[in-house]
Amino acid sequence: MRKLGPGWVMTPAVMVAIVAIIPTPVPAQWLNYPTAGVPKTANGQLNLDAPAPRTPDGKPDLSGMWQAEAGRISRPCPTKNCEELRTSDLWLDFGHDLAGGLPYQPWAADAVKQRKLTNGKDDPTSKCLPLGVPRLLVDPEYRKIVQVPGLVVVLNERNASFRQIFTDGRPLPDDPQPYWNGYSTGKWDGDTLVVQSTGFRDGMWLDRIGSPLTESAKVTERFRRVNYGRLEIEVTVNYPKAYTQPWTVKVNESIVLNTELLDYICNENEKDLKHLVGK
């Protein structure tokens, strides 16, 4: 059950503000082009429980279009198309599934409190800036993974942006250029791709309530394609400056078939920011 603290009551006004930040996906994803190699059962039905496909080197192939698991709590619906807004609970609060929430340091708890009160107006995504890692994983818009030898690329509808995960064995750089996605390298632990990222930029928000993630954070993501239709990503954040202990959250993604990315350019006709005024 979601804990809604003072200043974070799900009033319709707050909901409208949140929904406005994420327009509903356009109903007709353009393409309806059939996904190749979809497994079928003996009677021709789609078989999402089939084993994960593998690349020629025998490793699981994470390639595909993915969508974050929809939230489980019901929210007031501000528009008639509200059902299309499959916002993950983690989008609002990355610690949603943790008993007691994220283990904030006192300053971080204060920052979150303040950020709730100001309706997220200083959220980078309110200004159409990048979401960053790992928040991109729970963005309600689609993403596409393209896995090639030495590299896993994630294409995000959000701002039509990419992320690179190097799997060619390189080490993390000692002094990376600080960036929203950090610098990511991955290696296989059995059938799990373990991705380490450092080199984040200052001032990132992990979620809509403003849980902080900045420079000295280390993020580990364990990508496991459980079967054809499902991808589990175990995200561990180690950032002692903001959290009293490392914490781990599981993100579920489901495959999306017979469609393509539809680029979403946030600052195209952006009208929301000026409405995000605090109380």
């Binding site: 356009v26 007709a28 353009w30 393409l31 082009y33 190749a36 200004k127 159409c128 800036l129 990048p130 393209v146 090639v148 590299l151 690329v153 294409l155 701002n159 039509a160 942006s161 990419f162 690179q164 060619d168 390189r170 750089p173 250029q177 960036y179 929203w180 996605n181 393509e260 990315l261 539809l262 680029d263 350019i265 600052n267 195209e268």
Partner: protein, 265 residues
Amino acid sequence: MKTFSAMLVAAIAAPLAAQWNYPTPAIPRTSDGKPNLSAPAPRMSDGKPDFSGIWDVEHNKPCPPEGCVDFYAPQEFGNIGWGIDTGLPYQPWAADLAKARTAALRKDDPLSHCLPIGILELQTIPLYRKIIHVPGLLLILHEYNASYRQIFTDGRALPVDPQPSWNGYSSAKWDGDTLVVQTAGFRDGIWLDTRGSPLTDAAKVTERFRRVNYGRMEVEITVDDPNAYTKPWAIKLNQLLMLDTDLIDYICLENEKDLTHLVVK
């Protein structure tokens, strides 16, 4: 003029000096161990040329006597028709529009607003791009706004009524060693260069990608946009391979300070 150049430069921060410096694998070498950029283009397992790599624009604009600026844009960035003797065959309204846009200091240029810049300007802006060439897909990652473009090579047809977008919808097939990319479904309001040459939603663009050798790629671009131009026109851009580096994402909106200065005095 000088002020305008300064604005242009200010509008796009210089790429950071220190790229990642991770060695590119499998560089062909000459006998003295230097990279052999004239070596044949690499090929994929199906025998077709492999366009994968990090590419830069050809810096074909002479530097001023005081030296090159950091943001070293090629001629075509300022004028996509630079290589055409008679210039672009603008329709009268399009010629007037380009003139007005230049006079207004590009304040309405999508680039000035950190919006996407479309598939032609993405090939003339002096930021790096990385091609990932896999079966069925040619993926271009671009430093500009850390953006991507997909070119489908799985034989699909162009959609009949695509969702209009900045990059359009691109499908390609091989003509010998040349990848011929057809694109339609552009959104209105795209600028092809900083002088404001328009591209409308009626446009069809054909790009012929040819990796001449290991170090160089030629892209012959034909624009057929009867709304804006009296006839189809074609240009050729050279792209040069960059070694031992990777993309550094350039997020235009991050600390953007230029737009408010793009005011005609």
